[in-house]
Symmetry: D2
Subunit: 106 residues, 4 copies
């Protein structure tokens, strides 16, 4: 199951070359960063709404949508999924409260 | 690297039992679903902002934050990460435009 | 110009009675709170994206969309626009930092 | 009551000149557009969460927060509240479904 994300990342990369009318991903790349970022935000909100409605099936679907659009956004910025995993790994072992205190504040 | 998410999922599950003053994750579970959902939304917005500022390092960090809080939200709902991967896998092979057309509309 | 919001509030209230296929507002009320809340979130994200693109014309339009959907959400909850204004008024004179410090934290 | 927004707009404009350690609004202006945009997004999410929890008092407060930060964001971009009202006014009389159909799609 852990290969799913690697396969999706490869598929997203491959679709950069496709024509926008054939592929949803290609059409997102063609529209550009602001539209991709907006889609990510919309999926996050759909997940929030599903999670507050206690709708587990919808939550699972919206979480999948969010992860998918996150991977498109990362691909658009040339960031590999492994870089995100490496960042998460680097934090392992840091207690959450310590980690949070170490973050830049605003 | 692919084991990172599995380890984080296990850590999050283990921290449900911790006391809230010791663990950031335990404090999120103690605050409940609305606060966890809100945190997810805030991380999504921070990622959007970083992505529009073309700040790749910040994007990587915010993506990691988003994935982490997504896993906390899923854990709070009793949804395994594998269920989300299974949903993504089920969609593989579906062309994106077809997939999008098949989604329920509002 | 200040009467615009009062007129819009009255229009939104009137459209509660309309049939959903004739009125966008009536269709939102028919879909219910989660869909209205999601629309508000989408408009907020569109405004964020426009504001970071420094697109003032789009910002004005998205701000109008956000205010409009805010008024629909409030109407759906039976909250009058004047109640929101009263809350803002009550805070006038409080210095922002003091006000923020007084808010419940999580 | 309708003068509240005009007074707040004037107060926000006046605080641009204040020092950041004395005024919450001045500190937001000092942090810049991305932080202000993020705050607006956070307030929208807090409103969504309150609205789905059916918490009317919290909704009123979060709606006030959202309007306040919207006015800060507009001020940061040099957009007057009246411009937003004018945009809303221009749409009055347009049926919602017609208006929505006329918007640019993505």
């Amino acid at each position: 199951m852990t290969d799913v994300l690697a396969r999706i990342e490869a598929t997203i990369a491959a679709r950069r070359e496709a024509t926008a009318d054939k592929s949803y991903v290609a059409s997102l790349f063609a529209k550009g960063r602001p539209v991709i970022a907006r889609k990510l935000g919309e999926e996050a909100i759909e997940l929030i709404v599903a999670s507050l409605a206690q709708d587990h099936d919808a939550m699972t679907g919206e979480a999948a949508d969010l992860v998918f659009h996150l991977m498109v956004l990362l691909a658009d910025a040339g960031i590999a999924w492994d870089e995100v995993l490496a960042r998460l790994q680097a934090r392992e072992g840091t207690s959450g409260h310590a980690e949070k205190a170490a973050r830049p504040q605003d």
